[in-house]
Amino acid sequence: MAKDRLTEVLERYEAVIGLEIHTEITATNTKMFCGCPVEFGGEPNSRVCPVCMGMPGALPVPNKAAIEWTVLAGLATECKIAPWSQFHRKNYFYPDMPKDYQISQYDLPFCADGRVVIDVDEDGVEERLDRETADNVTITDDGYAAEIGITRIHLEEDTAKMIHIGGAEGRIAGAKKSLVDFNRAGTPLMELVTEPDLRTPEEARRFAQKLRLIWLALGVSDCSMEEGSMRVDANISLRNHGDTELGTKTELKNINSFKSLHDGLAYEIVRQAAILDEGGRIIQETRHYDVTSKVTSALRSKEEAHDYRYFPEPDMVPFQFDEAFVARIRERLPELPDARKARFIREYGLPTFDAKVLTSDHEMVEFYEEAVAAAGVKNAKAVSNMVLNDLSAYLNTSGLGVLETKVSPQHIAELVGLIDDGTISSKQAKEVFTFMTESGDMPAAIVEQKGMKQVSDAGAIESVVEKLMVQFPDKVAEYQGGKKGLIGFFVGQVMREMQGQANPQVVNQVLADKLDNA
């Protein structure tokens, strides 16, 4: 869809977007209410017990670690931790939940009233038309920052996994039968609900990405959208600019990537606008975004509204968390992405751009930190250059992830060290880098093996320069006649003579000295 169509619609309507993000807590050893292990995949129904299969008489007991992780997640998103909380039963009939209720939380969740600040830059900035005036927006050097309210984070149990057989694309429509696997059932599941503070598809994407980075920094989940350990649903409605009442919303579900979140919302905004433009009414419904056809379509409409009849879970007692408990969890808070970005700028002297790109990828930033630890803070910028240029380029062409290559942080640190102490030139380092990706050998060993050591000995370079001056008397004359740019020609010739092993700084010095004083 054309981007300007979205912008055109956003000029006439304000989009109001709220997200519901489910994240499986994969950091615990066991499930939410039983001692079955938490893992991904495996043979169907191989990690189950009477509790997570909903057998009559089984007694669920809450996992202390899962609750502590949820409180930690709340603290990381500036939520208030409820002094009094409890689980509720959410009643509904579906084969993924054989008790016929899900243990969840209702009016007394563990965490409420938090906030996350998102940064929007590049193309996304233009989507937010009121960025200069909106209350929750601050203009920054390269875009804007927006504060997004967190309504609540509650904890519940994940459902069983169902595979629908006989329908299109494994969907339920048209399916002849379904297969149920209870391995996932009972996995601790955090649900975070935002305030309807998001105004553009880009903000929704940035929020989901930021939240994922925060969760990864905490280590609470592996946050894999493909494997379903992080699942994003989006509510979207339109209204006229200046209105305070919300329009009728639709809900986008089964979004399996950040791009789909953005594109699905963009499609939905344009679709709703077309209906409103014709004087039509938006039907409140759940819709699915199909990545192939790039359109949303209504999921089978529910024949009646949900009526979950929540009531306090009688199998469990409430939770009363005092300040000492919260303080103890707070001590576990690691450095979060924003703080880390600020530290890179402050202590490592990195440009904002470097700091931002490095901290926007959890694996990359951990890799970078390890390399800096090995190379020393004085080389932080050089390490950043190598990670963002050489390593990123290699990852792009190879299609590998940061942790999947033969290049470790120690490789990077050693290579930067070799440039720093003058053993090799930056140009030679690029060659070493390529050898390194192929063999996984350490840079010092490669330099040794290939005889790539940089020649910094002025005497050796001087003799080459003297030879060249005899060889190219015309060029020397032209240089001395004022064509100073010819120094580049001489540098090239020296490098060629010395198989690229001459130290470029020394070459420049020697050349300037010899040519100017000849």
Binding site: H22, T28, N29, T30, C34, G35, C36, P37, E43, P44, N45, S46, R47, V48, C49, P50, M53, V61, P62, N63, K64, A65, A66, I67, Q86, K90, Y92, F93, Y94, P95, D96, M97, D100, Q102, D158, T159, I163, H164, I172, A175, K176, K177, S178, L179, V180, D181, R231, D233, K302, E303, E304, D307, R309, P312, P314, M316, V317, P318, F319, Q320
Partner: protein
């Protein structure tokens, strides 16, 4: 506040209970008797009384995050009417329902 027959049918559907007209009639009376009782309690001034959802004064009952043995697979599938590749087979899903997962 009292329940109509229609509301009794709705509640029966939510609970997936198949009730005939006689049963609906009887339950309408029984449920309304319970609601009358609740309505009487609602007349009282209970502002100073904490809602009671549990009869024992215990909080924070949790377990440590330690793996315990569960079912072996054969046991887990013993009651399944049909199975395929270790999964429980269920017939085509029809009608309303479904959580928000």
């Amino acid at each position: 506040m009292s329940l109509s027959k229609e509301e009794v049918r709705h509640v029966a559907l939510l609970a997936r209970l198949g009730l005939d007209d006689d049963q609906i009639e009887r339950l309408e009376g029984e449920l309304n008797a319970i609601l009358d009782h609740i309505n009487q309690i609602s007349q009282l001034d209970l502002d100073a009384v904490e809602p009671t959802t549990r009869s024992i004064p215990v909080v924070n009952a949790m377990r440590e995050d330690v793996v315990r043995p569960g079912f072996d697979r054969e046991m887990a599938l013993l009651n399944a009417p049909d199975r395929e590749d270790g999964a429980i087979v269920i017939p085509r899903i029809v009608g309303p329902g479904g959580g928000d997962q």
